[in-house]
């Protein structure tokens, strides 16, 4: 009997407690709604309406003054208000709510400026020119059937494979070799790293000069064409020079027999080079090679030049982390230097390579500045990012522009997935 009574008492308490926790939950829910949506919304709208109303009514100077004072105190009062509201919540919930208070705006802004545009872009990619009518998959069909788009996708692929492989390979070799230097390692590495400090537009401008072409008989200011027109003799036996004045006489390169300058960034194949001049379609190897997209490769080199330094620095750190005992053990066992590099160093830096490859892949997919500054996508050198802008601002086709940007987005997804899996693997280890 007494025991029964005790249980009943216990029951009552439990019920009482659960009622109390229910009401606490309800209270905290209410606080959450008010603190994170109702209050910020009212606060924001009040500001927005205030400024919309006064913008055209009061003098500019006063408006600027008000905008700075009210605008800068906006966040302060937002947090102060939220803080006050949360303080009404039950004690046990407050800590979590305060956390949410600080993360909340970040998530909200991320949603507003990242998530919403992404959804909107996907939506627009199924719409027509001005986004007015649905066109189904038309834009995607266009993306894979249009000749210029096909070339753009091909270029993007060449860039992805070429830039990532070359930058990693050269970076790795340079890092390994510089690690072996007795002295001057820091200077050597700084020189290789230097291009990283130049902006993409700057690097492109530098290389634009290297590849520059001017019509004859002008002096060739481009490095490659300068070399090309200098040297050799014309058909009369006179030397060819880049408009150099010797003994008061100008020696040019316009006569027959001198090598003529070429527009490097306009060469979509190798037909301008003597060894490929007489290739017939029957010669399958050469006719394949003659279509080598020289200008795309020349532009790619700019990016490799820029990012090799970055890859080198990262690899250098990874190689330095390899314990010397292991490499020494390898040497004692009689392994060659190449063998040590492949069998000892490589497994250690493998995960670093993946990190660098990921970074470079994403960078190449976003590559815009190099093509924009040099050829602006003419002569089959376009990349997806530039094509996207062309469709948007040149052809005013919002649907296609969105489709191209979705293609870029889709190409990044496998890399993200790969990285997630790799991180999980690392955790498992």
């Amino acid at each position: 009997m007494e025991w029964l009574c005790f249980t009943k008492l216990l029951d009552g308490r439990i019920i009482e407690m659960s009622i109390k926790s229910d009401s606490n939950k309800l209270l905290s829910f209410g606080v959450r709604i008010i603190a994170f949506s109702v209050f910020p919304m009212i606060w924001f709208l009040s500001q927005a309406i205030l400024f919309r109303e006064i913008t055209n009514r009061i003098p500019r100077a006063l408006l600027i003054f008000l905008a700075i004072t009210i605008g800068s105190s906006f966040i302060f009062f937002l947090y102060a208000g939220m803080n006050k509201i949360i303080s009404y919540a039950p004690k046990s919930y407050q800590e979590g709510l305060y956390g949410a208070m600080f993360v909340g705006p970040a998530i909200f802004l991320l949603g507003l400026f990242l998530f919403y545009p992404a959804i909107r872009t996907i939506y627009l990619s199924f719409r027509d020119k001005w986004g007015e009518n649905s066109v189904g998959l038309d834009n995607y069909v266009w993306a894979f059937s249009d000749k210029i788009m096909q070339i753009t996708i091909r270029n993007q692929f060449i860039w992805l494979v070429g830039v990532v492989t070359l930058a990693i390979m050269i970076g790795l070799i340079v890092a390994y070799v510089s690690d072996k230097l007795q002295k001057g390692e820091a200077v050597f590495k700084s020189i290789i790293f230097l291009p990283m400090a130049i902006s993409g537009v700057g690097s492109s401008a530098i290389f634009k000069f290297i590849y520059a072409y001017r019509p004859p008989p002008l002096t060739q200011i481009g490095f490659l064409n300068g070399l090309r027109v200098t040297g050799g003799n014309d058909d009369m036996g006179n030397p060819c020079k880049n408009n150099i004045i010797e003994n008061g006489r100008k020696i040019d390169y316009v006569n027959d027999g001198c090598t003529q300058p070429i527009g490097w960034l306009q060469q979509r194949d190798l037909t301008k080079f003597t060894s490929f001049e007489n290739v017939t379609p029957d010669d399958s190897f050469f006719s394949w090679l003659v279509n080598f997209p020289l200008n795309t490769i020349l532009l790619m080199i700019i990016m490799v030049w820029m990012y090799t330094g970055f890859a080198m620095i990262v690899f250098s750190a990874a190689i330095k982390a390899v314990p010397t005992e292991i490499t020494e053990a390898g040497r004692i066992d009689g392994a060659s230097e190449a063998r040590i590099f492949l069998s000892v160093i490589m497994p250690y830096v493998k995960s670093t390579i993946v990190v660098v490859a990921t970074y470079l892949t994403v960078t190449v997919l976003k590559a815009y500045d190099i093509v924009f500054v040099t050829t602006r996508g003419d002569f089959e050198t376009n990349l997806l990012a530039v094509k996207m802008m062309d469709e948007f601002s040149k052809f005013l086709h919002f649907g296609r522009a969105s489709t191209v940007s979705i293609l870029i987005f889709i190409s990044v997804v496998p890399i993200i997935v790969l990285n997630v899996f790799r991180n999980k693997e690392d955790e498992a280890l």
Partner: protein
């Protein structure tokens, strides 16, 4: 206390605004492509100096290299400039169709007067369904060939009046071991426009002249029509005849259009210029080297594009066009001023000192006001053509962007590279891409 102070300030400032002259101090934003501090931007801004002094309306010209995309963003955001200056009238019509522009009639413009001042053809370029939206601004002249009289005289060459004479002269120059034509059409992201200009000039002088030209631009005849093919064949004759073009026909696409004429100013080891003739618009002296610019009008000048199958006074040109996006009283006053005869005074007399060579589209404008004799000569040409309504606007600018700044450019580039055998493929590809 503080609240009441702010309130007081607010009321006071409203009163101040309400009591002032309605237009005094009003701001009008004028947005365009020529850079704000570039020669054209400064010239445009200078044209409003007197106006601002007279009316108190502050007109601010803002230029941006990314004019098109920035303007789109501004319109989407609901914050457009009062007036925008488009480099191509085709875009004005597209914006009018999208409902972003205000018809000139709603701005109090007398359309009859406007049409007679600027020629019905030019006004028509900014019309949608017969309603004018765009205001004609400046025009340039494309039907000209630049040459150096001294080099012609010393060799006994005569200025060619017809296409055949030009070809004969070119053959003579080639036979004498020199190169007749400068030709460069590389232009970042717009490679090909120079060849489209050539095509347009030839189209105006072949087939049925302006009639077939208009049909071609409006796609009333297909792009691969025999008339167009005939024109392309003429162009190919210049581009692909051995020895006609500086650096050979492969160099056409590699040569930056701004550098294209430099061989004419350079002398090779034998003292010969790199080329003798260069067909390019009236704005090209802006790209010349400094010492060549000094010889504009004396050392280097131009002759009209030679006659072809249809002898005529037709003139090819281009130009920009403005339109209004925000209608208020101040903007209306600015529009009135921009359509008036003396709007171009400051630009023509080069008040800004930037050497702008822009030419007014106003038929009544006194051409003796231009500071440069070369510009005067060009303006006379244009004025006569506009008055006779035989001025034709750059056709590619009036085609849909997919063609006019897409396939027409890229296929002309391809034609230059591939040779005369590519003409049919090029025209068929352009025809197929017409939306």
């Amino acid at each position: 206390m503080r609240k009441s102070l702010i309130g007081l300030l607010l009321i006071l400032s409203m009163v101040a605004v309400a009591c002032g002259n309605s237009l005094e101090g009003q701001e009008v934003i004028y947005f365009g492509a020529p850079a704000t501090d570039g020669p054209d931007g400064q010239a445009i801004q200078s044209s409003f100096d007197q106006f601002t002094e007279d009316t108190g309306i502050i007109v601010t010209y803002v230029g941006s290299e990314n004019f098109e995309s920035e303007l789109l963003a501004q319109i989407e955001a609901g914050n457009p400039p009062n007036i925008a200056l488009w480099p191509q009238p085709g875009t004005v019509r597209a914006q009018a169709e999208a409902g972003n522009l205000i018809p000139l009639e709603d701005l109090g413009v007398d359309l009859e007067e406007y049409r007679s001042n600027f020629s019905p053809y030019l006004v028509g370029l900014g019309e949608v369904d017969g309603v004018p939206y765009g205001g004609a601004h400046a025009v340039n002249l494309k039907s000209i060939v630049w040459y150096q009289p001294a080099e012609f005289d010393s060799r006994g060459y005569a200025i060619p009046d017809t296409w055949d004479e030009m070809i004969a002269l070119a053959d003579q120059i080639v036979a004498e071991g020199m190169t007749p034509f400068c030709f460069g059409m590389y232009s970042n992201g717009a490679t090909g426009w120079l060849a489209t200009d050539w095509m347009e000039d030839i189209m105006l002088r072949t087939g049925n002249g302006t009639t077939s030209y208009d049909q071609w631009v409006n796609h009333e005849i297909p792009f691969n029509d025999p008339i167009v093919k005939n024109a392309a064949t003429y162009l190919s004759q210049i581009m692909h005849t051995d020895g006609y073009v500086v650096g050979g026909s492969d160099a056409i696409v590699s040569t930056f259009f701004g550098d294209a004429q430099n061989p004419m100013f350079e002398r090779d080891g034998n003292g010969n210029p790199g080329c003798f003739m260069h067909r390019q618009a009236s704005f090209i002296p802006g790209f010349w080297p400094e010492d060549a610019k000094e010889g504009l009008g004396t050392e280097t000048t131009f002759f009209p594009f030679p006659d072809m199958e249809v002898p005529s006074d037709t003139v090819l040109g281009a130009g920009d066009m403005w339109a209004v996006l925000v209608n208020d009283e101040a903007t209306q006053a600015v529009v009135d001023f921009m359509l008036s005869e003396n709007y171009f005074d400051a630009i023509a007399s080069d008040v800004a000192g930037t050497g702008s060579t822009r030419i007014s589209a106003h038929i009544g404008f006194d051409t003796s006001k231009y500071w440069s004799p070369t510009t005067q000569k060009q303006a006379d040409f244009l004025k006569a053509a506009l008055a006779a309504n035989v001025f034709r606007f750059d056709g590619s600018d009036n085609m849909p962007p997919e063609v006019g700044s897409g396939s027409f450019w890229s296929e002309m580039t391809e034609l230059a590279v591939q040779g005369p055998g590519y003409i049919d493929t090029a025209l068929d590809t352009i025809e197929k891409s017409w939306p």
